[in-house]
Symmetry: C2
Subunit: 438 residues, 2 copies
């Protein structure tokens, strides 16, 4: 019932004339609510309730984008887990249109989908499964400074919550940590009032795979091709991750196999300490308060990247603070002086092994596999630093149609096109999904 119009109500009567200036009487209070009554209404809002109302902040703006977000969150988790465990990832993505009373509709008409993502990763220990999938802001990657796809501990549980909200269905998880361990099956939902998992079902089951995790969600969604579609996401994931073997079962019943074209994991990123240049004053105060160091110099050298004991002493001197000052005693103007001393001291840029670039060889490998062109290039720039955080830019480019395709086009051109007819659409589709890969 979008945009339905009602009869006007409670609007002040329209004024065609400008309002006459009114005598400005002193404001007299209307009967209203008192401070005590207002105070009694104050309460905590759970983060799940907040993101139920504000789901657009997490990528669930509309059914089309929501479907993509759900797939992406599950694949991100699968790849992160595999790489962290040193396992070359094998991922299966399955998308099915779900009947909503009556026979299953064609995918382009469907409004409900079942998403299943299976990986060969390390698996998840039983105790952690409910919270990982049914509690927002729970995770292992938030506090560490190193590159990973997921970071916030909110993605997969938000996807599950979106499913719960739109279809009422729980998230189903199967996970197994080794061939010697049993596989565990869970059905979980979020108790949105508390942001805690509700376990609807848990049991040991027989599972065909020796190790890995499978997550299944049923969500409201819309399946379309083209920009920002699940299909495009899968292709791009494969280009950027040629070390991944990915199988994609489309809602149309097609199974696309993307084989691994690069048999090496990217170098494992290392966790680093924060760089002094990237710290805001408030964060510095918090670190001074929380540190286990007993001296300011020890704190500077121990809790940051690239601060040697010698440099720590230099910073203390510039801030007019004794190196043996207790960190907790540094606040107010002293902390501001320390902050400025840090900014004006020359400190080496942070280490960049917290990054794991794809690398030029691997990007090229991904491009060859996915895109048929005449010319390919790729570049991994040297790492750079923004606000103390290292980052790296990598780019790949494929150009042209490839010799085979160009030849095919020439033959096709022999048959003249009718007015307004175009072969562009076909070209594009074939360029993205070459029949024969090389």
């Amino acid at each position: 019932m979008p945009g339905q119009t009602l009869s006007p109500a409670k609007t002040r009567s329209p004024a065609a004339q400008p309002p006459k200036s009114q005598p400005t009487a002193p404001p007299k209070p209307k009967p209203g609510v008192s401070a005590v009554e207002m105070g009694a209404r104050q309460r905590e809002i759970s983060v799940s309730e907040f993101f139920t109302k504000n789901r657009h902040l997490l990528g669930f703006d509309n059914p089309r984008k929501a479907l993509l977000t759900c797939v992406k969150e599950a694949v991100d988790n699968a790849l992160d887990a595999c790489e962290e465990a040193g396992i070359l990832p094998e991922v299966v993505v399955k998308l099915e249109a779900v009947a909503n009373g009556g026979p299953p509709p064609p995918p382009s008409q469907a409004s409900r989908f079942r998403i299943t993502v299976t990986d060969n990763g390390p698996g998840i220990i039983r105790q952690q499964i409910p919270r990982i999938f049914a509690k927002l802001l729970y995770g292992s990657k938030f506090h560490r400074l190193r590159m990973s796809r997921g970071q916030q501990g909110i993605g997969i549980s938000a996807a599950g919550m979106y499913g719960q909200l739109t279809t009422g269905k729980p998230v189903q998880i199967i996970s197994r940590t080794s061939a010697r361990a049993p596989a565990h099956y869970f059905e979980v939902q979020i108790d949105t009032k508390k942001n805690e998992p509700l376990i609807l079902e848990k049991k040991q089951i027989a599972w065909e795979f020796p190790r890995g995790t499978q997550v299944t969600m049923e969500v409201e969604g819309r399946y379309q091709k083209g920009r920002a579609s699940v299909d495009e996401y899968v292709e791009q994931t494969i280009i950027a991750n040629p070390h991944v073997k990915l199988t994609y079962a489309t809602p149309e019943g097609e199974t696309k196999e993307y084989r691994r074209t690069y048999d090496e994991l990217p170098p494992s990123p290392r966790e680093i300490k924060p760089h002094p240049y990237g710290i805001e004053l408030g964060m510095l105060l918090k670190m001074l308060h929380d540190t286990t160091s007993h001296s300011l110099a020890g704190f500077l050298a121990g809790d940051f990247s690239r601060v040697s004991p010698h440099l720590a002493a230099e910073i203390c001197k510039a801030a007019h603070l004794a190196p043996r000052t207790r960190p907790r005693d540094v606040h107010g103007q002293a902390s501001e002086n320390l902050y400025k001393a840090i900014q004006s001291t020359k400190i080496m840029a942070p280490p960049t092994n917290c990054l794991s670039p794809i690398g030029e060889r691997a990007i090229l490998s991904g491009l060859y596999q996915q895109i048929k062109g005449d010319f390919y290039t790729a570049v991994s720039r040297p790492p750079a630093v923004y606000r103390g955080n290292p980052f790296v830019i990598e780019a790949g480019l494929a150009y042209g149609r490839g010799p085979v395709q160009a030849q095919a086009d020439q033959q096709k051109k022999a048959v003249p096109l009718a007015e307004g007819e175009t072969d562009q659409g076909d070209d594009r589709a074939e360029a993205r999904f070459p029949a024969a890969r090389w």
Copy 2:
């Protein structure tokens, strides 16, 4: 040190040649982290930590926007509190550039500002002050269905947290609920690890005002004129809220008085129940679970807008469910049937007294006051409904320069402009800040 370039590290060596196809060996696990080790690293992330990293989601993208967001959150709270208490609002906004070692810089150069917003509202009871200003997701307006500026219980505490992070300074609050009650002074910060307030100072003080709240924050910011500036926000607030008396002390030391031009509060909006059309399946399930009604028909008639007992019976019948079914027993396919029955039953649109339109008279009044033009118009459309939520669109338009300004321009034009010279800048400034208001 933004964008500083480092020597390359950890990047695979560039390949000018396409990589030779490699023998696809079975993936052999590298030494990595086990499921148990990963599980041990999982932990809760507090909502304060999340929004410290993701402050752009709350309007703190950059220093300029952050300054505006802080002012807006404080003014929103002031106006909401006054209106809810039935008090014609008088608000004072004060912006000061803060010295950061050395004399205070000119406002356009300053990077730190002190924001003080004072209102004549109902005040806040002492016990609630710390959590309202130093706990994210705490408030009185989140769960109710009625119009207000603030909704989420996150705005003012996020502004305080931003100040804490960028300047290390606590939020200062003075509040008093009546002339017979003492004024309370607080200094609070957020313990971001727990998302709970830390009270640095609390005491009773003498305060010049008989009732109201004052909040002071020190934040990193940038003060500029023009689009999305604090100055523009203040002007627009006055146009849209002609029942507000607002004083704005600019960082340049100017004091702008915007007098009240409409001596009536907008009609107080009423809280409504959710409309059945606006409920998603997951929410329906939650309501079925949480209701205090003992029968399905009672639940439908009692917990929703516009569902009479007669209509409730009709919905039950369409869903093939007995009206006396216990709400908690409705799940699975039965709940889907109920959901569909609701969608296919004709239900009157929701009441719209949860809205409080400004009204055409008041919009015109605001425009006359703020903008000098030849032609004015305003319209309040009838309320409409989207996803069960009533909304209303109101618009006002002022056009032209006004007779006085046009005359002044003519006189000015007598002095010919030099090539490339323009008087547009001046015009615009004067049109927005007419020297003599009428």
